[in-house]
Amino acid sequence: MTAVFLETPKRLVDVEIDGRTVRVPEGATLLEACRSAGIDTPTLCYLENLTPVNVCRVCVVEVEGSRTLVPSCSRAAETGMKVHTDSERVRTSRKMVLEFLSSSADLSLASADVQRWIAEYGADPSRYGDPEPPHAAGARDATRPGEHEAATDGAEAATVHQPVKYDNDSYVRDYSRCILCYKCVEACGEDAQNTFAIALAGRGFDARISTEFDVTLPDSACVYCGNCIGVCPTDALMPASEYHMRQEGTWDESQQTVTSTVCPYCGVGCNVDLHVQDNTIVKVTSPLESEVTHGHLCVKGRFGYEFVQNRPDEQ
């Protein structure tokens, strides 16, 4: 016997996407098929290192024979599938998802891709009227499932706007930006950290990411690994250091370099990407494709870098 480890060989399947045949390994998703064919497909709740939750529905495509549109991020490609990514139905749904989100949450810090999709699909948040005034601190956390104040005249659009939650030195949680993509919950939970400090609470439009009884992060199970920050697509979750720089107007990504190295702490050898501005580390992330980390770090790896720029005994 030779104890060599072999992966089971994968079959290939052919799907037709927008009239072109695309060949992918069995088990590949339609999103992977689209991307391999170079078709730009918007995603918000999808990330390579997390289990697809297919909740944002911005990646939907039309599969012939299916009554509704299907989320490409989680539907496996099957031989013979005929897929349309640019039909009227697809375009409308994508536009509306982007419009719903941009009319109810602040997407101003979402990626350039998101801004581009909003423009390309013609999402127009102004169609719903002016946004309602921000909720008082804690108001959304106190809502009860199945009850809401009925819209009076519908002149203002309901939003999730509310004050920033800043209850510790490591993170800032700005839930006005939250699109409820579930990524932070996945990263804090089963997909990586398994700390489960946060979860979905409440229901419907009042659903929110919350600790138990909305206790502060220091009172919660949070271990400040920052893996939630690492996966947040809208910067609703942000390191306090970045938040401060943004408040001061000194955060400037065009002046930042990103250098890949290895965490200085324990022997696991986590890959870290150091984001440096003015010879100062301003943020630490980890590459999603790292076999060691899959993009996730612990509190030391993500926040424990200060010692190189804050040497207690420096002259």
Binding site: T2, G269, V308
Partner: protein
Amino acid sequence: MFGAGGGTSSYREAEEADLLVLWGSNAREAHPIFFHHVLKGLKNGARMYAVDPRRTSSAQWADTWLGIHVGSDICLANAIGNEIINAGLVNEEFIKRATENFEAYRTAVAPYTLERAERETGVPRDVIRQLAHDYARADRAQICWTLGITEHHNAADNVLALINLSLLTGHVGRYGSGLVPLRGQNNVQGGGDMGAIPNKLTGFQDVETDMAARARFEAAYDMKLPPKKGLHLSQMFEAMEEGELTTAYIIGENPMRSEADTARTRKNLENLEHLVVQDIFLTDTAKAADVVLPGTAAWCEAEGTVTNSERRVQRTRKALEPPGQARDDIEIIAELAKRLGTDWAGADGKQPSAEDLWNELRTLSPMHTGMSYAALEEKGGIQWPCPEDGHPGTLFLHARLWETDPAKRGNPAPFVPVEQEDPLDELSPEFPLRLTTGRRLESYNTGAQTGGYTTPLRHKETINLSPEDATRLGVLEDEVVRIASRRGEVTAPVHIDRVMREGLAFMTLHFPEEVETNILTLDTWDPKSGTSEFKATAIQVSKIETVS
């Protein structure tokens, strides 16, 4: 293990194992991202046993926690081995083909009955029996350990006891099965790989016995190598005490804080004729030095490589300009060499780069030969051995043991019988509590690095006691108590912790500014590995009477 000083398995194998035994490892806090792989394994259905005196956050994930008495690991391991043998669960074919010395092992473990193990470890016999059977029966089983195994006066024996179990069951050399020592620092493995151990040259080539390797190095360096192996850390301190070692050049280490028995360490370092410290901090050790050379933070201010606990060599890169007068460590060493009469500068007058040195190393260390910087870059790190260009690296070690062809199988792996030895710092009526030490998630070793950042997780150093001991001593949460060992005493506030059992106390080494825990610890070290017994100190805890 069987010739190569590294863990056998890859992290990803933990995700696909059937059984994981975490032995003396609180990976949840000390190796959090390795624990992510463990958690994936659990999600995929793996069962987990945790062997630890405390029911740590790691142990709380285990299907079964075995709360052994500190330092009774060999008794437990031998009893497990004995039970596997008695129950007829040994992997006979593997033992026959790939191991030697089994009979001696069988004889040695025979006295370690389940009854004896229950008496000496505290763990009920049915639980030990279950672990033995589950481990032997699993298709893929790993034993992972950390300092709970190695910070004992008989550390090497502890490790051997675990290796014996893997040989008994054939849980080595196959995908998903293996022996996984988790390294405490980001380049402990790399330090060993590079030959920063007294008896090995780079690539684990023996200084005294591997003549071919010696010849290769001597040819490359154009000089004779010293014929004898050197001293390990604990021996060095003994040599200082004896006056045989009078000069030390310490790079990136703070023994004044990290060594057991601080008072003795301080005396030894202060008595040196000449002490040079190269560090990025003005550490306590540096403060005692005659010369301080400000170095660079290797992970972000210089180029190089490190090796992790799955033998993966990865590139570190310069992201920051070092501050002030700090200089690249390679440059410092090269300058020092120049002053000592050897100029390593090339034709262009430049000192060698990290990559130049690495390429030289690749010609001398066969296990690194295929790892060019370009290949490391492309593959995101490579696991040794990687003997030639284009080699993909090695997922797990010792596959040879399963070869049917004896020639390919090579030398058999020996059973090395070991006997239980209790911790040297004995409990007594005067020192009735067993202090063990460990790590916390947010902090690291002596806190030199983690002291630089703040986190809401951080809380002050405490002595953690069981509710039972706290009640007996009449002490309350946060009450400052006196803690004394046979070597010294400190004070610290109490934290009453339900993961502790009666008779057990816990402290960390993270906050020497607050509590110099190592004043208490014993510096008795393991003659085979040179590690001190940080994990087992006899102490007394007493109330501080307030003057009214």
